[in-house]
Symmetry: C2
Subunit: 335 residues, 2 copies
Amino acid sequence: MKYTQITIKDIAKKIGVSPSTVSRALKDHPDISEKTRKEIQELAKELHYRPNSIALSLRQNKSNVIGVIVPQLVHHFFSQVISGIEDIVSKNKYNIIICQSNENYEREIQNIQTMITSHVAGILISRTKETCDDEHFKTVLDIGIPMVFFDRTYKELDTDKVIIDDIGAAYLATEHLIKAGCKRIVHFKGPDNLHISRKRLEGYRRALEVHNLKFDESLVILCDNLEDAMKTTQNLIDSNNLPDGIFAVNDNAAIGALKTLKRNNIAIPQQVAIVGFSNELISSITTPSLTTIEQNGYEIGKRAAELILKRINSKKEYPSQTIIVPTSLIKRESS
Amino acid sequence: MKYTQITIKDIAKKIGVSPSTVSRALKDHPDISEKTRKEIQELAKELHYRPNSIALSLRQNKSNVIGVIVPQLVHHFFSQVISGIEDIVSKNKYNIIICQSNENYEREIQNIQTMITSHVAGILISRTKETCDDEHFKTVLDIGIPMVFFDRTYKELDTDKVIIDDIGAAYLATEHLIKAGCKRIVHFKGPDNLHISRKRLEGYRRALEVHNLKFDESLVILCDNLEDAMKTTQNLIDSNNLPDGIFAVNDNAAIGALKTLKRNNIAIPQQVAIVGFSNELISSITTPSLTTIEQNGYEIGKRAAELILKRINSKKEYPSQTIIVPTSLIKRESS
């Protein structure tokens, strides 16, 4: 695993010219004769000289790498966020490395440790559903590595954040169902320890209130993935307890409902209308296609990357910033 | 970005005990009095002492991180590969960092550089469609970092590889269409510079030959994504040139065909049967659901991780290995 980093000085020594000659030859400077230029460039290639930021960062111990930690790569939302991050950081000559916590708190701690040992210049993170403690985040901040949270934040920590207006988005989704004529709307909610779950539930509740529909605790069911949604929906059908609308905390849960209703020959949206959340790739491909909330993952990634670069390159301290990225309702066939 | 790594010695010095006392106190050893244990553990916490492999690897400059480079994270296949890798490496106390090349050759070179500067212990890579040169791979090998290719390899390089039997899988898919009664099967192929594209085409060709169907060059069309497949399929319809079967190089292209046929009220599989490749998540959700090839990404990831760990931990050189992971046909409604 050991290796030596070839420098301009090494090349200069081997050929017997000055380092500045090597530097200019590598940049095709016209002051250097073609013969010398060729000789230097060939030696540089042979020795695997890396002329870019790599050599510099190895010597200066300054990293041009930003670490990104996401719960699960399989979600289209997170790949969109990563694309947004990549587009901004690569323009600024930074690269990213990605770790996946797999919704596992222990794995998240390991990821943080990996990022620290990899000497990243900053960390962008969306935390797991399980995370119940912020010791590992505090370690990062104490070490002096800037950190920006996106989507799933840790409220108690004073860091930069990029979030969406979850309450507003959930309000929009629920109001859409109400306006479509739904009177008895079930909410498939996420786990209570996630801010975004609590906020989406709050948006659902507010929309009901504003439109004079009673909030009924029994219509709020913990159910945030495909399998659970299939079981829960089947239970609702079997117990003759079918609602006329379902607002799910994410698209996977919404699709679980959709598949189960279809299998039971229940008409969507005529008998039950469905709205999801996050506009996963599959949501436009299902039959019927799924009405959902566009979270603008790409925009979230861009803004998070801008915040971390600003923090990395700032010589002064400044107060934490929170950016709220707007969302929109994508109306499709399921509502 | 600078930080100091707290060691057992630092804690011992501050408290005025021996390092071995600290070490035992941190392991809750009964020889150490409860008072001392508590004092040491509290100080360790306060100083953010990291007792695990991190401190060790920082001192020894030995990395327990393996780098993974994939073309695009959005493909379910690659997230499955990553899950397989994670399950094996985490059992062996390694972590992974992931870079995405975005099918961009320049980005792949940057990724390689990032992995080198991050001092990874090994690299697992599936190359981009664009990669036309192996200089950056050779740099890795020259430095002495073990590298294993999976799925998309670089044939000329002598490294460990994990691949699937693409010819066999494509043969299976095409034969399945022939046995379902198809006589005029279009193949949506991938770019020629990718081995897997050439091999899948070869499997298609062999199946036709074995079953006495003529290989017709005009039925092989370069088309490996959703958008192109939608256009190509519409062209086939508009020019009254509809085949009775389509074998696509990947699921996205197959789904592009499926959507376009449906939109034109062409019955699947009665008028046109379709088989995809790679069993993306969406392929089971489309209507009709898609017959496809299961590539066993999870298994590929596991085997690749085993190969790299073996290489990292071996004190001797040994010849390169190639592992071929079996595939299977998943029969669904589209055929």
